[in-house]
């Protein structure tokens, strides 16, 4: 691979090489279609998806554009949650709180200080990051159920807290804001403009997380997830990586919350109940933990399945939603992303 093979012919014994050749058959896991390997197909798929995403708002009615925008908002939040749960192997039942913090940070900045909306994104992300760091330091000393409980508590105490400081947060009434207006040069309608703003944020977030995960840091997080003891022996500082994974995860959720405020133009405590945190986690698990497609598929699930449940049975949408989650997990225990991967591998291939 590196042309180094003949650098040390004397010390290299041939036996291991033949042993590996025998096992080499098992090593061929990458999908090859028309001579392209899996990595190349992933890029093609991502490019096609992006092209479709750029084209869609010109073909859809405003309500559907809005729905698609919300899918992107959830996708960014789930991307953050995935970093922590799917990649670093920790758990959070409180990510709705970081989403809310981002949403409120943006709303308060725009409402109280007339901050231009593009500026609210870095500030809201930074606020969520710092909060994630502060809460992450003690939280990451816990694991499993204890961590789940602590993060759940974060989500629980948030709503009463938001209602309490009425002068700043607008209390139970919430805050109503103007949505970002499309500049004249763009020639876009408001819903289309907002859609493209959110798309840009989502693409940036996915690129950022993608390169993070393909690096030394991503490998360290995966190592912590797969085997803490071995990771530590290899020099991975567990507390550092767990805490920063929590903070980065919170930051993505906060950024998602910020763009949520742009999209909806309204925040109130009742939009960010514990239910949101649980739905996010359920959406991620259904979408597929530890994959790049998982957050997108999970976002589609979070956005559309409650509505579908409502249509199926108006009286008990929650029951249908729950049953659908159970059904998906039964058919695809590794989530929708895992199911898609299994189906692709079933396609007969030319060798």
């Amino acid at each position: 691979m590196t042309g180094r093979a003949d650098a040390n012919p004397a010390t290299r014994d041939a036996a291991p090489a033949t042993a590996a050749a025998a096992t080499g058959e098992a090593g061929a896991t990458s999908v090859r279609l028309f001579g392209w390997d899996a990595a190349r197909w992933r890029w093609v798929a991502a490019a096609a998806l992006l092209a479709a995403a750029l084209y869609a708002p010109f073909q859809l009615i405003p309500f559907h554009v809005f729905q698609l925008t919300m899918v992107l908002v959830y996708a960014v939040a789930l991307l953050g949650l995935n970093l922590l749960v799917g990649h670093a192997g920790q758990i959070s039942l409180g990510h709705g709180a970081f989403f809310a913090v981002g949403a409120y940070a943006a709303a308060i900045l725009m409402e109280r200080w007339d901050t231009p909306y593009p500026l609210t994104l870095p500030i809201a992300a930074a606020v969520a990051f710092v909060l994630g760091l502060v809460l992450g330091v003690p939280a990451m000393r816990l694991r499993g159920l204890y961590l789940a409980l602590v993060t759940l508590a974060i989500a629980i105490f948030l709503v009463p807290l938001l209602k309490r400081f009425e002068e700043v947060t607008g209390g139970s009434m919430g805050l109503t804001l103007a949505k970002p207006a499309p500049p004249a040069w763009s020639g876009l309608a408001e819903d289309q403009w907002i859609y493209f703003l959110v798309l840009a944020v989502a693409v940036a977030a996915f690129l950022l997380a993608g390169s993070l995960l393909r690096s030394r840091v991503g490998r360290a997080l995966h190592a912590v997830r797969d085997n803490e003891i071995a990771a530590e022996v290899m020099g991975v500082r567990l507390s550092f990586y767990k805490t920063l994974a929590f903070a980065w995860s919170a930051m993505f959720a906060g950024a998602a919350g910020c763009v949520y405020t742009w999209v909806i133009g309204f925040v109130s405590p009742d939009s960010f109940t514990v239910n949101l945190s649980i739905t996010l986690l359920a959406g991620l698990v259904v979408g597929g933990l530890g994959t790049m497609a998982g957050p997108v598929l999970g976002a589609l699930f979070v956005m559309f399945v409650p509505g579908i449940s409502q249509e199926i049975n108006d009286a008990a949408p929650g029951v249908i939603f729950g049953l659908l989650i159970i059904a998906v997990m039964y058919v695809a225990p590794t989530g929708l992303a895992g199911l898609a991967g299994r189906l692709i591998r079933k396609i007969p291939r030319k060798e």
């Binding site: 040390n8 590996a20 896991t29 990458s30 390169s211 030394r216 840091v217 022996v233 020099g235 991975v236």
Partner: protein, 252 residues
């Protein structure tokens, strides 16, 4: 290079190590033997800071090892393999090996996320080195395979590759040929000799396979019930009545 002095470790009422002491000089290959439960793995765990010592000292290159944080051991040039494999099952073989180079990298969350030029350079350099080690150990063909579902002997080599990429000066091998057949043991011994010379390693190897240990190591330390019962060249230790008794028991 390594001085263990009067090391004692207790778990509740059980004394896993009882005043163990020995030294390892630079470049040596030392075998650590003893019946099951003798405290061999516990000793390794002490050296890599998985267990706290109740008393005694461990000095490595003049530094008190008991005061070093567990994650900082790798940076000091100590690498180990695990008795029952300590791989990352969902990572590819190549990524497993690259985790071994973790302490040599600098990339942080932000620089990696932005994929700055320095990060790309570092990634390329460590990647090339990992590929070279994979090649040397005959693992190139399985580099993209997840570190599960491969033959046990292959996974043992992956662990060795991961340890080597961390550029250790002291390598701790915990039962490296456990579960391998006779041909594989022979092959592994050859690989280990070559690697030791190429990387200028000091090695401590825990192993039950007597042929392997006796043929490979210059010196043997034998533990039994947490105590050192013999130390010396293989030929001497093999004839030591205490060692024979520990392994076979005494005639009634």
């Amino acid at each position: 290079m390594l001085e263990v002095h009067d090391l004692t470790v207790r778990f509740g009422g059980i004394t896993a190590l009882d005043g163990v002491g020995f030294e390892v000089a630079r470049g040596e290959m030392v075998g650590l033997i003893g019946p099951n439960g003798a405290g061999k793995t516990t000793l390794f765990n002490c050296l890599t800071r998985r267990h706290e010592a109740d008393s005694g000292t461990v000095t490595y290159e003049g530094r008190d090892l008991t005061a070093v944080a567990p994650y900082a051991i790798a940076r000091l040039g100590i690498a180990r393999t695990f008795q029952n494999l300590g791989l990352f099952p969902r990572l590819s073989v190549r990524d497993n090996v690259l985790v071994g180079a973790h302490h040599r990298g600098r990339a942080g969350f932000l620089t990696a996320g932005l994929r700055l030029p320095g990060v790309r350079r570092e990634e390329r350099a460590l990647g090339a080195e990992a590929d070279a080690v994979l090649e040397r150990l005959g693992l190139t063909k399985v580099a993209g395979h997840p570190a599960t579902g491969l033959p046990f002997g292959t996974l043992k080599r992956v662990e060795l590759a991961r340890a080597l990429v961390s550029r250790p000066r002291l390598l701790l091998l915990d039962e490296p040929v456990n579960g391998l057949n006779a041909a594989e043991v022979e092959e592994f011994a050859g690989t280990l000799r070559a690697i030791r010379d190429a990387y200028d390693l000091t090695v401590i190897v825990v192993e039950h396979h007597m042929g392997f240990v006796m043929g490979l190591c210059e010196r043997i330390v034998c533990l039994d019930f947490g105590r050192k019962i013999a130390e010396g060249p293989p030929t001497e230790v093999q004839r030591d009545p205490g060692v024979i008794e520990a392994y076979l028991g005494t005639a009634v």
